[in-house]
Every structure is written in structure tokens, then in C-alpha cells.
């Protein structure tokens, strides 16, 4: 270090200047890298925490849901509807032609097993929770769900049929762990 310093202080030649500029640049770059690395933890802390992620997938026991009934479970802070459909409901869902739908999609694309319909229970219009899961609630004109906020009607496949909502109710990612347990997420 003593040598290089001697060069820098006694010679004001071209070499010394270049080397100094390079050194300052390198130091500056090094510091910038460090600063960027420090920034990451402060950004990442806003991402979902480990306990939140641990509940990102849930397993639901569906053995107790009778045919024709539906339940509501909380998943990632939102309701998920699980309906055990009747034969009539499945048939009516399959019978709809594309021309009658706002967001055409076949029933087969929306279920893994025809008797089980699993949906994110959030209206695609402005995020309200549609009625029709619990017994006694109005199911709308198409015997599925009805959103009371702005009058969207969904059918027995959760597809939008009437009203302002633009899209069908979302089908979450799910898998049947067994005949009676479904894993959502």
C-alpha cells in the first residue's frame, strides 16, 4: 500500500489519474451493490410471511357434505364454495349452449369430478360474496348463486349468466387427496 500511495502522491501523471478514477469507480460500484443487497430484506419483508404461506393450501374433509348441499371454507382470506351437485344440477350445467353465456366455458372444464363444484366465492364484478351456498339463501335465476351487490346471476357451474359481472366464478387450484379430502391451493 505504501508503494501505490507514493505513486499517487508524487506522480501526477496520466497513469495515477486513471488508476485513481478506476479505484473510485470500483469502490462506488461496490457500495452500490451493497446498498442494493440491503434493500432486498426491506422489500421482501412485505411479502407473505411463513405463517401466512403455511395456510396457502388447506385440506378440506368433504365426506359430510350431502348431495345438494354446499359449504363455505376460508382460504387465503377469501371464501371457497364447495357444492355437492345433484344429478339435475349437473345436467342443467352441461346443457347450456355457448350462446347463452357471457363468458362461455363448458362445465367439464370447470370440475374434476362432476358431482363436486369448487369455486372461489368472490363475485368477478366488484368482489362481493354471492349468495346461494347456505340453505335458504336465494340462488338467483339460474339456481346457482346470486350476488346481491349489483345483481349478478351465476348458474350451477358458477358461470355468469346475467348481470354486470364479466367473468365466471374462479375455480381455484385443487386436487383430490382421497375420495373424501380435497386439497385447495
Amino acid at each position: 500500500m505504501a508503494d501505490t500511495e507514493g505513486t499517487a502522491t508524487t506522480e501526477h501523471g496520466h497513469d495515477g489519474e486513471t488508476r485513481r478514477d478506476f479505484l473510485q469507480l470500483a469502490t462506488g460500484a461496490f457500495g452500490a451493490v451493497g446498498l442494493a443487497a440491503v434493500a432486498w430484506p426491506f422489500i421482501d419483508q412485505m411479502n407473505p410471511a411463513a405463517d401466512t404461506l403455511a395456510l396457502a393450501t388447506i385440506e378440506v374433509d368433504i365426506s359430510k357434505i350431502e348431495v345438494g348441499q354446499a359449504i363455505r371454507v376460508k382460504w387465503r382470506g377469501k371464501p371457497v364454495f364447495i357444492r355437492h351437485r345433484t344429478k339435475a344440477e349437473i345436467d342443467s350445467a352441461k346443457a347450456v349452449s355457448d350462446g347463452d353465456m357471457i363468458d362461455p366455458q363448458s362445465d367439464a372444464d370447470r370440475v374434476q369430478k362432476a358431482e363436486w363444484l369448487i369455486l372461489v366465492g368472490v363475485c368477478t364484478h366488484l368482489g362481493c360474496i354471492p349468495l346461494g351456498t347456505s340453505q335458504g339463501e336465494t340462488k338467483g335465476d339460474f339456481n346457482g348463486w346470486f350476488c346481491p351487490c349489483h345483481g349478478s346471476h351465476y348458474d350451477t357451474s358458477g358461470r355468469i349468466r346475467k348481470g354486470p359481472a364479466p367473468l365466471n366464478l374462479e375455480v381455484p387450484e385443487y386436487a383430490f387427496v382421497s375420495d373424501t379430502v380435497v386439497k385447495i391451493g
Binding site: M1, E5, R20, L23, F30, G34, A37, D51, A54, E59
Partner: protein, 257 residues
């Protein structure tokens, strides 16, 4: 000469400071626990995975009857080598209150990995009622909540002795040199072959104590390995950057004359 004085001042500062702090923390009249070399101590320390697993077995088989671990979740066990299926099975052994059902009643459901360890007692009063008025502390942070925690706990678990003749030990109390006041309400928890280790390690009291201390240290400081790893990198980086800054500083100041 200035440098020497600076170093001297810094030294005095540091010495006095550390003296003050250590004395501030060493309350009570208990005997100092002997130092033990732990897998997790030192700059590069990591947890001995086999010891963690055995330590969990000791906690579950011996401690969990009275002591909770309420800040640790079953899923955390996956961080120390348990498989997802093992964790699910461990979690499912306990029943926890479910969400209210349609009739508004709260039923029990089996635990899931996302649940925290279920405490053995519902509340402090229940814990005291079940333990002759003594409160078995939750162990989630016990290593951090005691001065020199790992060594202290290791010494405590292996430190039960016959009381000296002049010391009166009341019923339901036990003599332990490492416990402040020497009288502890916890009966000697560990005994040779008190647990059956899955990995067939001989379960001596010494072995069990070391394993459970390792496990509880992890429970209190799950971030320890990542922290030390990051620390090494950060300090190496800073040393390099500071060295560069020193050279740049020397050069910039060289033309002040």
C-alpha cells in the same frame, strides 16, 4: 501517541462496558454452569440435525407433559429434517378447537402443520393447579430468557444432587445447585433410558440433556444458521468495501498540502 491513547480509551470503554453488562445479567446466587461446546456455538456453528431430532423426542416424551412450546409451529419441524408426512402425523396427534360450526358450537379438530404446538395446560391457573402451585414455563424462548441459556439448562437438567445436611428441602421441592435459590419444584425429569431414541443412540441423562438443549436452542433461535451464514458474508463484504474506501480516502487526502 494519539493512536495509543485512542486504543487505550476504546479498551477501557469495552472492558468497563462488558464488565457492567455481564454483572447486570448475572443475578441470583446460583452456581455458574460449566461451559459446554455446542454444535451451534461459534462463528460457523450449525445445529446437529441428529441431535435436534433426538431432542424433539426428549421434549415430546419428557417435557411436553408440563411445558408448552407455544411459539413454535409443527410446520417448523420441516426446517430441521422432518418430512411433511411425519409433521402431519405429529400435528394430528393433538386436538385443537375448530372454527364454530353451523350451530355455533366449537368442536375439536385434529391439528395441522400450520398450528402452533399445543400447550399442555389451558392457562396459567390450570398449570399451577396441576403442579402444586409451581408454573412450568413455556420453553419456546427458554434459552434466550436465561443468562447463558444453553449451558444453564444443560447444567440444570443434569445438576440434581442430594441436598447438604444443613439445607432443608420441603416436600415437593428438589435440590439443584444451578437453580437460583437451589430449590426447584421440578422433579429430576431425565433418567437413563427414559426415552427410546429412534436412531438407537444410548439414552443417557447426559445425552438427553444435550439433545433437548440443542432442540430448545433451535426453538428459541430458528434463524441462527441463516443469521451466522449471512453474517460471515456481510462482514467479508464490509471489510473489502472498507479497505477500498481506506485506499480511496488516502489517495484523495494525499493532495491536501
Amino acid at each position: 501517541m494519539n493512536k495509543i491513547r485512542t486504543a487505550l480509551v476504546a479498551g477501557v470503554f469495552a472492558a468497563t462496558a462488558s464488565l457492567g453488562f455481564s454483572s447486570a445479567n448475572a443475578a441470583g446466587d446460583a452456581v455458574h454452569p460449566p461451559e459446554h461446546h455446542w454444535s451451534f456455538s461459534g462463528l460457523f456453528g450449525t445445529y446437529d440435525r441428529a441431535a435436534l431430532r433426538r431432542g424433539f423426542e426428549v421434549y415430546k416424551g419428557v417435557c411436553a407433559g408440563c411445558h408448552g412450546l407455544r411459539l413454535v409451529a409443527y410446520r417448523n419441524l420441516m426446517d430441521i429434517g422432518f418430512t411433511e408426512d411425519e409433521v402431519k402425523a405429529i400435528a394430528a396427534e393433538v386436538d385443537v378447537p375448530a372454527e364454530p360450526n353451523e350451530d355455533g358450537e366449537i368442536e375439536d379438530r385434529p391439528g395441522i402443520p400450520a398450528d402452533k404446538f399445543k400447550s399442555p395446560f389451558a392457562n396459567e391457573n390450570a398449570a399451577r393447579a396441576g403442579n402444586n402451585g409451581a408454573l412450568p414455563p413455556d420453553l419456546s424462548l427458554i434459552i434466550k430468557a436465561r443468562h447463558n441459556g444453553a449451558n444453564y439448562l444443560n447444567a440444570l437438567l443434569t445438576g440434581y444432587k442430594d441436598a447438604p445436611v444443613d439445607k432443608k428441602v420441603p416436600d415437593g421441592m428438589y435440590y439443584n445447585t444451578y437453580f437460583p435459590g437451589q430449590l426447584i419444584a421440578m422433579a429430576p425429569p431425565l433418567s437413563d433410558e427414559g426415552v427410546d431414541y429412534a436412531d438407537k443412540t444410548k439414552a443417557t441423562v447426559k445425552q438427553q440433556a444435550e439433545d433437548v438443549v440443542t432442540f430448545l436452542t433451535w426453538a428459541a433461535q430458528p434463524e441462527l444458521e441463516e443469521r451466522k451464514r449471512t453474517g460471515i458474508k456481510v462482514i467479508l463484504f464490509l471489510l473489502l468495501l472498507t479497505g477500498l474506501l481506506y485506499v480511496v480516502k488516502r489517495r484523495i487526502w494525499a493532495d491536501v498540502h
